[in-house]
Symmetry: C2
Subunit: 236 residues, 2 copies
């Protein structure tokens, strides 16, 4: 079995902390709402919105636009009618400003010395580029569902990464904090690495978002720095 | 007129020195041929190969594969039958290892502080990612004809960049050492910056590859560092 040459990373939750960043930004706006509840509600709209695109009910729509559509619903629900268009557009862009987990930049920098590291996120390219600049994420290449016009877990995304790099699936390893993402990559013949992020949904995660302990991936690590250890990457 | 927010860069010749790098690598192989002539002959096959794809005579084919097809012809022509498959594959990958011009890394780093900087190259994504890692090119995003499934000067490439960033064409500025690339971008409504690279084709450039002095672009600079000056970017 040859070693993988390309590591493809899920981003939201795996590399960056969407809950913590949104909770903090919304909290700082002083809107009189529970900012953690708001963050969870925004994220809860994510899979259903993508599912409308996956099912063909809605044509190709970027995550920026899906996030905005969910946000407009939340503004009604949370009674935030005072937010003007500028404030809404700025708030929607919080997804471009998500902070990395404390280990992410160091872990990626180490992994990058041995592997080609790329994103494979459902986030759109502009979002991922802004986020990388904001957080100093040292990607070799930013890839997105937008490039393949299909949202994960569609096999065209995982196999699309292999096609970009002209490699067989077993030379690509998907890195994610979500078992379903890894299962879909594995079904395409790719390797898998699970990174545990128990705080992804905040201190009291909804039961549906507690990741099961199994099935085990090829590698299991508590963070990206330890994944670099397991993959034999030298310290910086 | 609003200032541009995104700078999209042509790469071969504008940011990296394909002639000098290939001449040096081929020279070091000791093949008993004129390495500068070899570099020019390889590049001479580039536009005709892409034209076969543009015209529909050939389906979508990556630049890596087009380069390899041209190389196989040159191996015949230059009588290099002793090169085995490993050597041919390694030589074809020289396009992934092209060195930046001396001003490129510093100029891009300065421009990146004020603008979003991306590639818009006919080179494929894996080639551009390897090249960025090799030369330390600090792109915010690597975009390629491969993403848009169309080769420059097809308008879908320039307008594709605008679509990725959700900007109007006048908010995008194309940066290139080639007047025809800039003319195509301008026809789409984009801004233009010309960077003179008189040494792109070596010390004795074929007449067809001497860039005309006009029409003038919105900005005209001898290198990327001076372009950063003209665009008001602070020194590092």
């Amino acid at each position: 079995m040859n070693a993988p040459t390309v590591l493809a990373f899920d981003v939201f939750g795996t590399v960056v902390d969407w809950y913590g960043t949104i909770r903090r930004e919304v909290g700082a706006m002083g809107l009189g709402i529970d900012p953690g509840e708001f963050a969870l509600a925004w994220r809860a709209g994510y899979q259903p919105a993508m599912q409308r695109v996956r099912s063909g009910q809605q044509g190709w729509t970027s995550i920026d636009r899906l996030h905005r559509s969910i946000l407009d619903g939340l503004i009604e629900r949370f009674g935030l009618h005072d937010l003007d268009e500028t404030a809404r557009a700025h708030l929607n862009n919080v997804w471009h400003r998500l902070d990395p987990w404390p280990d992410s930049v160091r872990g990626l920098a180490r992994l990058r010395r041995r592997f080609t590291i790329c994103t494979l996120s459902n986030g759109n390219l502009a979002l991922l580029a802004d986020m990388a600049k904001h957080g100093g994420l040292p990607w070799d290449l930013i890839l997105s569902a937008e490039v393949f016009r299909a949202y994960k877990p569609d096999p065209r995304t995982y196999l699309g990464v292999c096609d970009v790099f002209s490699i067989e699936p077993q030379a690509m390893m998907m890195v994610a904090a979500h078992r379903d993402d890894l299962a879909a990559a594995r079904a395409c013949g790719c390797r898998t690495a699970f990174v545990g992020r128990p705080g992804e949904y905040g201190p009291n995660p909804p039961a549906a978002h507690v990741e099961p302990a199994a099935p085990l991936a090829d590698f299991e690590a508590p963070d990206l720095d330890e994944l670099a250890d397991q993959l034999g990457c030298p310290s910086p």
